[in-house]
Symmetry: C2
Subunit: 555 residues, 2 copies
């Protein structure tokens, strides 16, 4: 049975899910022993631990000139000393160019089968990926498992499904039969979906697989070889994916260089050299706005970015203010605000928030938010695990200096102890009040656990500011709380014009930070936060070109 036959069912389900957009997951998000096996967690942890201090020798790619690796664990604040093959940009490009022709001539069904098979193999390593993610990104265990394992695999499957569908949308060939009156002109036409060329995927330090696998799999399913350049600080999780892709390629007689890992170090980054190379035709990037915008300006390339944004919460009227404060406190605290979807700017009218029991004042709400954050952070069974750690030391410095923004400090950042990792790098959220007139204070992304409570004239002013921030500085998510259908539609309409998805009235166990594969589009373009657009048709279409040939039909 071919790999396509083996995985046809899951592929068809995934294509249906893309269009139904109801809940679908091929990879269960619960790290349960009944799903993944009794010893899966323990085995994964041991496998990760055994990688530390060693060479990562699983890759089948060629041309390494040495070994490099500078990851360190934010939980231990110690180097992991894992070494990866170091391959020069020139060699990576040459390898990819050679692999290109074999891969583009591989039938799309075979490509799909191979790619789904690689995800199935990674599934057996989800726990190892989870520990690798914890000790590079600083995420808590649950997030590290879900985001880097099943959620990432589902996003990858989504990209495979979208690419497979798009490549199948037009016939491979037809007889074109045009009546001309006394005779017909008959042409034999064929269409080829021609891959653009080498794809480059540049990863980030906080979500090394979730943000990278969609681009990797989208470029691969459309026939392009891929070079994956992870953030130097977060290599291992994606290296495991790539090792399994290379294994399946190799098992099927294909060149493992179809998907290569390109590890570099902070002092000698190779991103620019790769990105500017004329043979690199597709770039997927997650990271800072400056580098992302530079990539977007490169000519003759299809560039997909997820850059920074200023995410807003608009507070107008709520049913249960305590549930709202609890929900938002969790959103601010989750992975210490290091998610691209985390809220930063909270717009609260100076007259307060409407509730069924009358108005809750600005100050009352601020205090409730603070109390909920403290309650969460100080709960030893929740705080350390929800917060995770701070991936990058510089984020801690920025949090420390947040007070200098000016304005009432409702909550100072501090550290707490993680019971398992005494040396974990932790900064709890800092909450600062600023006035809507001090626009420069909140007109930028403040990455990490920093939230601003912005006092506005009224909800219309809040909406206008949230829209302006999104249009000028980008936004990836927005939270809004209102019980008035007119206000709701105004927020929905204005934020839609700013290309920002809105989560309305979330309470309980669902948060504006969360984003579900096969249902929520992610960064669809239209504001400066980027155009990654997991996974709408544009995301895959721009990776290949339709070319049609024709000749007189042999009748």
């Amino acid at each position: 049975m071919s790999l396509f036959e083996k995985h046809k069912n899951i592929l068809n389900k995934a294509i249906n899910a893309l269009h139904e957009r109801t809940f679908f997951a091929a990879y269960p998000e619960h790290p349960s022993p009944t799903i993944y096996g009794e010893s899966a967690d323990e085995d994964g942890r041991k496998k990760f631990q055994s990688s530390v201090g060693k060479k990562f020798d699983e890759l089948k790619q060629s041309g390494a000139a040495g070994w490099v690796g500078v990851e360190e664990s934010p939980y231990m604040q110690e180097p992991l000393n894992i070494q990866y093959p170091s391959v020069s940009a020139d060699t990576l490009i040459e390898n990819a160019k050679k692999a290109f022709h074999q891969w583009r001539k591989t039938d799309v069904q075979d490509r799909a089968g191979i790619l789904v098979e690689s995800l199935e193999r990674v599934k057996a390593r989800f726990f190892e990926v989870a520990y690798a993610t914890m000790h590079t990104t600083g995420q808590g265990y649950m997030m590290a498992f879900q985001a880097s394992g099943p959620h990432a695999a589902d996003r990858a499957l989504e990209a495979i499904a979208a690419g497979y569908e798009e490549l199948s949308r037009f016939p491979q060939g037809v007889i074109w039969d045009k009546p001309m009156g006394k005779y017909n002109i008959k042409l034999d036409k064929e269409w080829r979906a021609v891959p653009k060329g080498i794809g480059l995927v540049i990863g980030c330090s906080t979500f090394p697989t979730w943000n990278s696998v969609p681009g990797i799999y989208a470029s691969l399913i459309t026939g392009n070889p891929v070079i994956v350049k992870p953030h130097p600080g977060a290599v291992l999780p994606i290296a495991i994916f790539i090792a399994e892709i290379q294994n399946v390629l190799s098992d099927n007689g294909l060149d493992p260089n179809i998907c290569q890992l390109a590890v570099d170090t902070y002092d000698k980054m190779i991103s620019k050299e790769l990105a500017e190379h004329p043979d690199v035709k597709i770039i997927d990037f997650t990271g800072n706005s400056e580098f992302g915008s530079y990539l977007e300006r490169l000519e003759g390339k299809a560039v997909f970015t997820e850059k920074t944004g200023v995410n807003s919460v608009i507070l107008d009227a709520v049913d249960d203010v305590d549930k709202v404060a609890a929900n938002l406190a969790f959103s601010v605290t989750l992975y210490s605000g290091q998610m691209c979807t985390a809220p930063q700017n909270f717009y609260i009218p100076e007259n307060g928030i409407n509730t069924p029991n009358g108005r809750v004042s600005f100050d009352e709400f601020a205090q409730k938010l603070v109390d909920n954050i403290n309650g969460l952070v100080d709960n030893p069974k929740a705080g350390p695990f929800v917060l995770g750690t701070i991936q990058n030391k510089n984020t801690c410095s920025r949090v420390d200096k947040a007070k200098e923004i000016g304005g009432k400090v409702w909550l100072e950042s501090r550290s707490i102890e993680n019971p398992m990792f005494k040396n974990a790098r932790i900064s709890t959220p800092v909450i600062i009040e600023v006035d809507a007139t001090d626009k420069e204070k909140f007109s930028k992304e403040l990455f990490g656990p920093i939230a601003l409570l912005i006092k506005t004239k009224d909800t219309n002013a809040s909406i206008a500011l949230a829209k302006e921030m999104a249009l000028k500085y980008g936004a990836i998510s927005c939270g809004a709380y209102t019980t008035d259908p007119g206000v709701k539609e105004k927020i929905a309409d204005e934020m839609a014009l700013a290309a920002t998805p809105v989560s309305f009235n979330l309470v309980g166990g669902i948060y504006m930070n969360q984003n579900a594969g096969f249902s929520d589009f992610h960064v669809t373009g239209g504001n400066p936060a980027g155009n990654a657009s997991f996974t709408n048709p544009e995301y895959v279409i721009k990776r290949f070109t339709w070319v049609g040939h024709r000749e007189p039909a042999k009748v």
Copy 2:
């Protein structure tokens, strides 16, 4: 009955045709009295003649500051003196911004109904459009009728169909129901296809409707208001389309400024002012490479271009060399080589072309091509009508100077008489032999009736040159003649990598210049000729943004 109900059938047929890609045409290309009415031609001619020297007062758009118009007829070499409303760039933008909200909130079915209705109304004016096209572009009557009337309307319908389909590909809303073990999380999700903003369509002088209506209708169906800036030399054909669009908008209580005509003059062009305006988010352009590449570099806009290209013909082996020479002679002569799909560079091996009767030498083939061109040009019943006229005086000068390229002149350009227009601007094709080593001579577009016969080492060298030209300078079409399946696949594969569609072995009444709506993609990107991509999904998807909102479901 709504306009959507009225036109639902044609829309569904068009959507099916997009995917079947067999022959489909909603608007018959034959200018037959039995189809279009006994007096349609005569009425159209009279209507055109009555426009000459007058104000074009059909438009319903607002804010004109005066009247301008500098068209002249290449058949008469006299000004037409037709005057159009002159509207400043600022007023055009303000009008469009106001109209935007009404149009984006118009249901996509209503938009589709309105747009198809406008085509049905233009159908009644196809002959008027034909004469307007003849006397601005210089095309022959048959081409002017077909390209500007039915073929353009079919391309417009194709864009409406592609947009309508794409906007319907995802649900407007669903309940997302995620099992969490002991309970379910239910979210009420909705998706909005948010139009990007103002669309600007910049037309060319040779195909004022065929090259412009796809962009106009693609932007309109996806909810964007459109400003159409025609070439100053070819306004009337597209003005008629816009007048009918405005009529249908107005009849349906909508702002006619949803689609505005922006006429300028050579000494005061407003293209840049419009293109650079921050509210202009989509640009469609047909014209020269320099301006097209400038537009492509504008940030934050979706830009679709059709620029110049160097189209090749690869001659390897033929069944009937005379039929091939006749076919290619017609391709070179048709509209005096002023089509974006016309052949320019003919690659012929120094050892000649294989035929069932032995080799035809380079010189023999050259002479056959020359003889066929002369036979066509000198036939008073064919020559003037196939050639049409030269749209732009500068093209004549370039043709006159073509001899200076250097190399044997196989055929000199001359003028012939058009029996109906004594003053018609005519230059017949010039044919020059150059050697493959003189690459700089054929490494650029030589617009107009200029063909180069390039002597190559062999067919492999021909393929390599055709591919190199396409990759470096762009190509929109390619002709190839071979009887060897291996050579054919090599050409198909190499030219596909250069994103160039190949017409193989065309003889008889079908030419490489021709391009059929609903079947042949046009300029799909991947080489420097542009990315107009009539009409693949990318062409419509980039004109709007998917935005999803969600809230807890009210169970």
